[in-house]
């Protein structure tokens, strides 16, 4: 068995980092560093890995100067460490390793799709409203990119004191040319008191929005998005019930069919009486 190369070790370490549950990235970094034969192995790729993790998770920060929060996401990335804040009409500079905002600047030409600004702003108003109503711990950022409007939403709860963390992410992409709106939403929940339990969901939904003036389209779109996400949440309720009532019971009964616990004084006689002969 050949020894893994440094490259292979870095790949393994990077994969571990990218799979850190929400809110536990630094704990995983600490663990991985301690396990590498040489801590400096990660130095070269650390910047890229931290950036990949932060943008995938769509973490949110306070917008400098504004009274709102903004997402650090791939959709708003204008360069490594620079992210669009459309609501604040600025570009935020972000240090992925320190995980903090380091500055801001004006939006440069070509960095956002100005032709869609009216539509984007209408979507942003509706999205902020929707987010405030249904995501008490969430943030939304609305982008105009490649002719499409993107509504990105990220909501997280961290409770390491009680050994749990969770994140919801949804990204809805509206195409004005055909009224199609595609949503991709994911939930990750991690519970780790005396164990490790994780919920992972991954759903894609498609809705159609009738065309019209920007305000009307944005309003109709967010209503449809709200309905789709609401339906998903109620369907999850049903799914949970089915898993708990049907699949779980079929795995292991709460009690044997006799409806009482095993009589351990008699269990050795069960063989003779024929009970439990099946294989």
């Amino acid at each position: 068995m050949s020894e893994p190369t440094n490259e292979e070790l870095i790949t393994i370490a990077t994969n571990f980092l990218l799979n850190a549950p929400p809110g536990e990235f630094m704990e995983v970094v600490t663990d991985v560093r301690a396990l590498l034969p040489n801590e400096s192995l990660l130095n070269e790729s650390a910047g890229r890995t931290f950036r990949e993790y932060n943008t995938e998770q769509m973490i949110f920060v306070d917008a400098p100067g504004g009274g709102h929060k903004v997402l650090i996401s791939k959709y708003g990335e204008v360069s490594d460490g620079e992210y669009l804040d459309p609501k604040g009409n600025q570009v935020i500079q972000f240090d992925h390793i320190k995980q903090e905002v380091t500055g801001k600047r004006a939006i440069g030409s070509g960095e956002t799709d100005q032709s869609q600004e009216a539509l984007r702003a209408a979507f942003e108003k509706e999205a902020f409203d929707y987010c405030g109503q249904h995501y008490p711990h969430g943030t939304t950022t609305v982008y105009a990119k490649d002719g499409k409007i993107i509504v990105a939403l990220s909501s997280a709860r961290f409770n390491p004191h009680n050994f749990w963390n969770g994140r919801w992410r949804s990204v809805w992409t509206y195409n004005p040319s055909n009224g199609e709106c595609v949503g991709h939403f994911r939930i990750v929940v991690h519970y780790y008191e005396d164990g490790n339990v994780q919920l992972n969901t991954d759903t894609t939904q498609k809705i159609t929005v009738p065309s019209g003036a920007p305000d009307a389209v944005a309003s109709a779109a967010l209503k449809a998005i709200a309905k789709a996400e609401q339906t998903f949440q109620s369907s999850m309720e049903v799914n949970y019930n089915t898993m708990g009532e049907t699949t779980y019971k079929a795995l292991r009964r709460a009690l044997p069919i006799t409806k009482v616990k095993i009589d351990w004084n008699k269990i050795r006689t069960y063989r003779i009486s024929g009970l439990g002969q099946k294989q």
Binding site: V28, G166, Q198, M243, A254, N265, Q279
Partner: protein
Amino acid sequence: MTDQLDCALDLMRRLPPSQIEDNLSGLLDLVPDLTEPLLSAVDQPLKIAHDPVTKREYLLCDYNRDGDSYRSPWSNKYDPPLEDGALPSAELRKVEVEANEIFDIYREMYFEGGVSSVYCWDLDDGFAACILIKKTQDRSAKGPPMRGTWDSIHVVEVQDNKKSGHYKLTSTVMLNLQTDTTATGQVGLAGSLTRQDEKDFPVSETTPHIINIGRMVEDMESNLRRTLEVIYFGKTKDIANELRSSTAANVLQQRADLQKQIGSSIGNKQRS
């Protein structure tokens, strides 16, 4: 070294349980010096093997492994065959045979299917046993895909004090459920919980060690089943519902205001 093992175990408590085998394999590449302690400390979903001699199935774990061979609890033979593979003493093998028969019945009564195996090994002041059970369920044929797997790993250390026994039990249950529907897409609930217990029981003709162990395992596994139910179908759902509120904030505010109104008008009535 202990620091590294602690970090490795901490990592296994955070990485997605649905990828345990890949995670463990990656860990072993990172810290090959920790191979032995990691293989015995990290629980993995159990693999099933077929015993051609007795035509029965058995489960694989570190406790019935010697090199690259595994011992069947039914035939007591290694596969692939080993000249001098580790075997329990003749006395202990008798206990092991009875344990396998008894837990076969236990398995049938609680799981109505699946595979079980018990492996014993000698200790200075007694013996140890691991009781393994694996059950899978696939209801995909009856409707939308819904698959589940249950793995029980119970390891008990028995201190033989002749008229009584001191039992230390460490139990892990791994539970994995997956569904794929149009309404909710792919949903996966995966993970494990571990608990420990320590008890003393009298030992006699009617209550030999294996009966005491059976009682302990039954209580422990039933408790774990209840806890898993609460965490999987209660806790994770509650956390998910905190991420997104089904009820709109303004509706919640209206309700809160109404409650306050009712509360204060009742208060007023009581005072008047």
